[in-house]
Symmetry: C2
Subunit: 273 residues, 2 copies
């Protein structure tokens, strides 16, 4: 497996430079020659939807994805309906921004019944799929690491995400493969192969030892224990040639100057991914 030799597929997920607002992130990418950016709804709202779209276009960037929809399970039918409505707004925002991928972080069960939570997720996805289709937006289920099963996502394996995609048989539904969440899985290569044709995004970062924090513990590529290149190779073996997003939740990286983060990210992208 050969190293990447240019930055044509590199994307900055906006959370990696969390201290930057929309304008700083877009200008930072343009300065660094990073052609893609992954946006977060909160930051888009802060800057304005139309303004964000114009800013990105004017800088010559493309939007690899919008984070995030999901968070479907809730205790009451009324609250679940509110979550579905919120996801419809997220789909509309993705379409308005001109990206065709909305990342789904599916949410935890509202109580101890994780199986019921998974059924709520399935039901909700079924409800919003027609909206996604008519908006030309694809929904990317991102399985989270099992350590987030109780508080962020009842979908914690690529196998479960693949099962959902196969169940709905819709071109508007796929998976987002994030190495931090799935690298540990003995079945990871088989599940990536199974995802052929419905991989909507590929996210990279690393798993440091010791892990300083579950949410904010992610490291820059090369600073942890994930063997990134075989994972990229298996994703590419499915035919995926889309953007590779660098998504790092890490307080130390957030506190560093953004331009330095982007420079290191480019270097590690070539040497480690």
């Amino acid at each position: 497996m050969e190293a990447l030799t240019d930055f044509s597929r590199l994307s900055l997920n906006q959370i990696t430079t969390n201290s930057w607002g929309m304008r700083e992130a877009v200008e930072g990418c343009a300065r660094a020659g990073i052609p893609w950016i992954g946006l977060w709804r909160e930051k888009v709202q802060e800057y304005g939807l139309a303004n964000s779209r114009r800013l990105v276009e004017d800088a010559g960037l493309r939007i690899s994805s919008l984070c995030r929809g999901g968070w479907f399970p809730a205790a009451s039918k009324q609250e679940r309906q509110a979550r579905i409505d919120e996801n419809r707004r997220a789909i509309a925002e993705a379409a308005e921004l001109g990206t065709d991928v909305l990342v789904l972080v599916c949410g935890p069960a509202p109580d101890r019944d994780i199986r019921a939570g998974r059924l709520m997720i399935e039901e909700a996805i079924g409800q919003i799929l027609p909206d996604a289709r008519s908006a030309g937006v694809r929904l990317g289920i991102e399985p989270l690491h099992p350590m987030f099963a109780a508080d962020r996502s009842a979908i914690v394996t690529l196998a479960e995400a693949n099962r959902l995609v196969e169940f709905f048989k819709s071109d508007s539904l796929g998976v987002v493969v994030d190495v931090y969440h799935i690298w540990w899985d003995p079945d990871v290569f088989a599940q990536i192969a199974r995802a052929a044709g419905h991989i909507l995004g590929f996210h990279v970062s690393d798993w440091p030892v010791p892990l300083p924090d579950t949410l904010l513990g992610r490291a820059m590529m090369g600073d942890g224990m994930i063997d990134l290149r075989p994972l990229r190779a298996s994703v590419e073996a499915t035919g995926y040639r889309g953007p590779i997003e660098v998504e790092i939740f890490n307080r130390v990286i957030w506190d560093a100057p953004g331009d330095e983060v982007l420079a290191l990210m480019k270097q590690r992208y070539l040497s480690c991914v």
Copy 2:
């Protein structure tokens, strides 16, 4: 699924009252009417092997398991051999103590190659199995939570542990089912059923939200998001009727008076497990 109504299967894993030495833990169990205890090698060594055995016997307790063997992968053949020798000592200690279960925490890969680490584990288990058999000790592979894949165990699913047991086809090899490590798995009930006949231990605790720490984050049963009773039901559906160990790594619980911890543990054992 009915609640447990007596304490005949309850076991204190010694780590739950980590501030107690051997004598305090054994006397605490005797006072509380807890008939089983799970020992740790470090604490046994501190008190002496023969002394520990005598103390437990005199108190009328039985030893549910010895923690822990394992930690097999290493960068050099020489170091891997040293780990195997250490496991042979652990097997001998388990036999000397009069317990027939040695818990295996298999260890992480020595580098980024987790697949190679898993092969080292398989090879090492093959080497120590004859020793276990002749000592009358059974090895219980405990899959750890995937968040420990980089630093504690390359075996992170019950499926992998079951695969190893099926590969070796030996009565001296089985699995230890710990709810904290496997509750998130969409396949958990199928994998527990698959483990029928080779479950050598069942450990309970809980998963609090937010998780304060990966290693020391476990909670008392009932203080987290794990639906314990269906897990016990599925373990019992395999025919397992052995001890139920309470194993909690948690600084707050460690700092509490041991007798209070045991009292709460008994209460939650009846109401939650």
